[in-house]
Structures are given as C-alpha cells and as structure tokens.
C-alpha cells in the first residue's frame, strides 16, 4: 500500500451536486479496491494559472489516499473520462513522508543529545562553584 494524493479540477460551472457525485464515485473506486480514503478536501474555486479547456477558473478537489497502483490507474481512467473534470494529477507521497520522519527522528536524537550535554555541563559548573 502506498500513499497518494489525487488532485483534480472540476469545471467551475458544474453544480455542487456534480462535484459531490464525482467525489463519491472516486471514493467508491478506492474503497472497493481495498484502499482507504484519508481525506477529501474541497479546496474551492480558484483562478487557474493558465487557460484549461477555455476555463480561467476551476474547482479544486484533493484526495489523500492509501492505495495501490491498480486502484490509482482506475481512478485516473475514470477522471479522464469524466467531462466535468478538466485536469488531474496524482502524486505519490509515502517516500516524502518517510524521509520527513527520518529527518525528524534525527533532529530529535540530536536535540536530546545536546540537551543532555548541556545539563551535565551545567551540573559540573554547579559542583565547581560549590567546591570554590
């Protein structure tokens, strides 16, 4: 199982129910294939950086999922077929997350080591003062 983010842009003229319907369909594909949907985020309407299908605006939707390649393939196929969806992108995120955790643990370890060092150093100072 890998983590993916699927982001797609829906035609801004499409009614709200259509967006919900698309979300439902994609969610259904993922869950029925054995994946899990962690988050569905409707990012709302925003201006596109360039024209896509004659549109200057788009309704962004983001899926954060855990799934395998076959499910993602099916999702992409479905998104391609849907008329209301004007653009989509799938990004794999698990490698990024793993790397982030590695850095985090490394930093924590270092901070802990440094913390213990300073505490012992200060402790030493105190004893020195005491002897003086």
């Amino acid at each position: 199982m890998r983590n993916y983010e699927i982001m797609f842009i829906v035609n801004p003229n499409a009614p709200e129910e259509d967006i919900d319907k698309i979300n439902g369909q994609i969610e259904n594909i993922i869950t029925s294939g054995g994946g899990k949907v962690e988050k569905i985020e409707k990012m709302g309407k925003r201006r596109l950086a360039y024209e896509v299908d004659g549109q200057r605006e788009g309704y962004y939707v983001l899926f954060v999922t855990g799934a395998n390649g076959d499910i993602i393939k099916e999702c992409e196929r479905r998104l391609r077929v849907m008329d209301a969806v004007i653009k989509y992108i799938t990004v794999r995120t698990d490698e990024e997350v793993r790397r982030m955790e590695k850095i985090k643990s490394y930093r924590q370890k270092r901070a802990a080591r440094r913390g213990s060092h300073t505490s012992t150093a200060s402790g030493g100072q105190f004893t020195e003062e005491a002897t003086q």
């Binding site: 950086a49 788009g58 989509y88 992108i89 990004v91």
Partner: protein
C-alpha cells in the same frame, strides 16, 4: 576606510555583497509541497521561469526539491508555464 576605497584604481571596484543563505535551510523547511503556491511563487519571477540558484541563494538540495514542486504545481495549473 573611505580613503582606502578611493585609493583603489579604477575598474577594481569592491563590492560588499551580502552572503546569500538558503531560505529553506534557515527556516528548517524539510519538504516543499507543490500545493504551497505562496511559497513557490517567491521563486517564480514574472516570466514564470524558475529562479536560478545563483540569484535566490537556495542550496542545491532544496533547489532540487523546489524544482520538482514547481513542476508539479505547473501541471495542475497552480503556477503558470509562461506568461502571455
């Protein structure tokens, strides 16, 4: 200080250039997300080209991450490929 500067022969101007530092290293940003348009757009000047390292001062590691993020963002129309 000033007189020393004046004594310098013409054509050998001395610049006091500030050392550039990598924004991502300073602010401890480990991952650069393609959805963070506000951050990415700082490294995409008017012509929508990716700002070179020699100007922005970003370190090579972060420049690579930045590159990937900007290209992903372009794909989903968050950032422009070019300006018209």
């Amino acid at each position: 200080m000033k007189s020393a500067k004046e004594k310098r022969p013409a054509g050998q101007k001395q610049y006091y250039r500030r050392k550039k530092v990598c924004k991502f290293c300073v602010e401890r940003i480990d991952t650069i997300n393609y959805k963070d348009v506000k951050l990415l757009s700082q490294f995409v000047p008017e012509r929508a080209k990716i700002m070179p390292r020699r100007i922005s001062g970003v370190c090579s590691h972060h420049q690579r991450l930045l590159n990937d993020a900007i290209k992903k963002a372009r794909n989903i129309a968050l950032l422009p490929f070019s300006t018209e």
